[in-house]
Symmetry: C2
């Protein structure tokens, strides 16, 4: 029944870590990257507002979708700063990646298709094959050969 030590509704880094499942080292890293913020107790210890949990959740989701931390930062920057973002703010934010997700899904569908048709028939000797990059430079999925799949198709 008693309030926890942190100033009423403020969370320590470990509390955030346990509740979000994100390691505290990662949280410090996110703070360094300006994706989340903390206040400091007199001692220098971090104190997170509850609302950081939602931000962290967003970060995790967005990564899962395939956004880089830089991109996530840009998204998060769109949130209002004059008040703690509410459901509506978050909804607005997430609309933009619905498109992202749809694009990625579309790519996967294409791969699924091209997979059997393209690879098995052997047409993948490049330039002929239309699998090789329909200009979706947006969707990133880690390294991978740079230009077949990445960019140079669009020379």
């Amino acid at each position: 029944m008693q309030a926890l030590r942190p100033p009423a509704a403020m969370l320590t880094i470990n509390q955030v870590s346990r509740r979000s499942g994100v390691a505290s080292s990662a949280l410090r890293y996110y703070e360094e990257r300006k994706l989340i913020v903390s206040e400091r107790a007199g001692s220098g210890h971090r104190r997170f507002h509850r609302s950081v949990l939602r931000r962290v959740a967003f970060i995790v989701f967005a990564q899962r979708v395939g956004l880089s931390l830089d991109e996530i930062g840009e998204e998060l920057a769109k949130l209002p700063t004059d008040h703690v973002p509410g459901g509506a703010d978050w909804s607005r934010l997430s609309e933009s990646w619905q498109r992202r997700i749809d694009a990625r899904i579309a790519e996967l569908e294409r791969l699924k298709q091209g997979l059997s048709s393209c690879i098995s028939c052997g047409c993948l000797s490049l330039e002929s094959c239309r699998m090789t990059n329909p200009a979706d430079r947006a969707s990133r999925l880690g390294p991978g050969p740079r230009y077949w799949v990445g960019q140079a198709g669009g020379r």
Copy 2:
């Protein structure tokens, strides 16, 4: 009209690179990782069989789908070695990742859903939310916080 220098139908590393769009440094790396093989000309220069183009195509596709080079190696190991793999061999191989792709698509659909419902409502304070890892440890998409999305949800 004349055959190219390499022993008839054998390709140099740069020919493979140009035809596949994969950098020659990457091709050397793939060879080192045993994903592709080459013979050597007396000089020590690599000579690739045409069929390596299909393998490289497969590698590129598979990466796009989200497989790591290790996983791709395992897949490639399933190809017959007693003959140059033909369309049927490749088709058989690709069946396994149809599932993979479907799983990933499903995850994206879930994310798309959970995105609005879950994040905007704020339920993502973890443990309650069913977004947080429906046990698909398989789908990898780069680093990201290890256990919320990765593993620890499952204890």
